[in-house]
């Protein structure tokens, strides 16, 4: 479990995060949603330790991130998997080499064990036959699956996804969403997904946090989103005609 307690973060006069308290639940997909500029990405990077909070603390289990030694932070990073918005795959490496990379760097495994782990991960994220291809030779959806594969190759406790569906067609986006949720439940990870995609919210939002102007203004489950009477959530979620109809159908 990851806890954010009273997180405040500013860049000069720009106050981005204004005191956020959230518990991210283990074994669930925790979705952070909100408009562009609401502070989602800064919040995600603060949880990851890429930004130090001005006030407040991030807790990984019983440990406070800001109080960890450099050595402990380094080992913590090996417990974290990250899926970037653009994939951030190493373009000079093949698909298999990308997935193998964290194992080469950190795993105390024999070559055979690494081979087996890569094969297992590739099967799990359904990348059969793509092992020797380079990222530039595969589709956007496959690139996202490689990124997920690389993120889970070290069997992490924590999985972070920054807009994993951006740039994907709706069908592929659902496949990626379902894969993230399956893996979260299967490996009992604490997964945090930063997204704009309302389909993702309804599809995999075990725990949804809505942010606005640096504040957490609402949290609940995906089914609770549809019944929410919070004005900010209604304004954001039910902007489109489709979701207005979905809400009406849900309330009937």
């Amino acid at each position: 479990m990851i806890q954010a307690k009273g997180i405040v973060k500013s860049f000069g006069e720009n106050h981005v995060l204004k005191g956020i308290d959230v518990d991210f639940i283990q074994g669930q997909t925790n979705l952070i949603i909100g408009r562009s500029g609401s502070g989602k990405t800064v919040f995600l990077k603060t949880i990851l330790g890429l930004f130090e909070p001005d006030q407040g603390s991030i807790h990984y289990g019983n440990e406070v991130l800001g109080e960890m030694t450099k050595a402990r932070r380094k080992t913590l990073r090996q417990e974290i998997g990250m899926v970037f918005q653009g994939g951030a795959l190493f373009d000079s490496m093949t698909v298999a080499e990308n997935i193998r990379f964290p194992l080469e760097m950190f795993a105390a495994m024999t070559e055979q064990e690494k081979d087996e782990r890569v094969k297992f991960v590739m099967d799990r994220v359904r990348l059969d036959g793509a092992a020797d291809k380079f990222p530039s030779e595969i589709s956007g959806g496959m690139q996202k699956r490689v990124a997920i594969g690389r993120a889970i190759s070290m069997n992490p406790k924590y999985l972070f996804c920054d807009e994993p569906n951006s740039g994907l067609d709706p069908e592929t986006a659902i496949v990626i969403d379902q894969l993230i949720q399956e893996l979260t439940h299967e490996f009992n990870m604490t997964t945090i997904v930063n997204t704009h995609d309302m389909n993702s919210v309804l599809e995999i939002g075990d725990h949804v946090i809505f942010m606005k102007e640096g504040h957490k203004v609402w949290e609940g489950t995906n089914s609770e989103v549809l019944g929410s009477t919070n004005a900010d959530v209604e304004d954001y979620v039910f902007k489109s005609k489709l979701f207005k109809q979905v809400r009406q159908a849900f309330r009937k």
């Binding site: 990851l48 890429l50 932070r73 380094k74 080992t75 913590l76 990073r77 090996q78 974290i80 990250m82 970037f84 918005q85 653009g86 951030a88 795959l89 190493f90 373009d91 990379f101 964290p102 080469e104 760097m105 950190f106 972070f160």
Partner: protein, 251 residues
């Protein structure tokens, strides 16, 4: 502008303190080192060959043009002067300046692209020292291989000079060889050039890497970083050349 310069110098020094750390995995480091030697070193041989041969030829023609009016100067002195020019300045400095253009832009654009496509962030989040992992093999490859390129350039420059002198009837080939061997001092001629080559290799690798690694933005900024890498490397080489020449020859 002065503030920016000192901020940049500070950031460069801080980056270098991150770069020169023990690699997490020696096996991966050695693999990267071999790849970088191929990419930055071996792939530069053709340009060094062409540049050196013609550079030697031009230096011989220029020197012959300056000295041939005086019948009291033996023709092998033209070769001796050519040797001094090539070994002391042209091979280490001019070849390094050309490599700063070819290799420096390559380093800056590859690191800049990795930065804007979040590949460097991915390494950092995994717990990898991205500066050391990406930059150290490049700097090490250049420092190891640039002296080899300079030695190659030196021999080809002298050969080009001797050939041009012979073909144009300025200096017979045998007299060029005699001139090259006349009052040859190993330190002044060869070691001095290699010291420069090593220093310039470090400058090309580290300055270009700094330009690429510190990119913020997108494709346009990567292009600017690539240009900056070449300009900064060339300026640093010229300044270092002056300092090293003063330091070595006057001490």
């Amino acid at each position: 502008m002065i503030t920016n310069f000192f901020e940049g110098m500070g950031a460069y020094v801080l980056l270098m303190t991150k770069v020169f750390r023990r690699p997490d995995r020696w096996r991966l480091f050695m693999r990267s080192l071999v790849q970088e030697i191929r990419l930055l070193g071996l792939d530069s041989i053709s340009i060094v060959v062409i540049l050196s041969v013609f550079m030697g030829a031009v230096v011989t023609i220029q020197t012959a043009f300056q000295l041939s009016d005086d019948p009291l100067i033996p023709t092998y002195y033209i070769a001796m002067a050519t040797r001094e020019s090539i070994t002391l300045e042209f091979s280490p400095t001019v070849v390094s300046l050309i490599l700063a253009g070819k290799v420096g832009s390559n380093i800056a654009s590859s690191l800049g692209t990795m930065r804007v496509s979040e590949q460097i962030d991915a390494l950092e989040i995994m717990g990898v020292n991205s500066a050391s992992f990406l930059i150290l093999p490049k700097v090490a490859a250049l420092v190891l291989f640039n002296p080899v390129l300079i030695i190659l350039s030196l021999f080809l420059g002298l050969w080009g000079g001797a050939m041009a002198g012979d073909l144009l009837g300025l200096v017979p080939f045998q007299e060029s060889i005699m001139g090259y061997r006349l009052e040859y001092i190993v330190f002044e001629n060869a070691i001095y050039g290699l010291i420069k080559a090593t220093a310039f290799a470090f400058i090309i690798g580290s300055v270009s890497a700094y330009s690429g690694y510190s990119v913020k933005g997108g494709a346009v900024e990567v292009g600017i970083a690539s240009t900056n890498a070449v300009v900064r490397s060339c300026l640093a080489i010229i300044l270092a050349n002056y300092l090293l020449t003063d330091l070595i020859l006057t001490s």
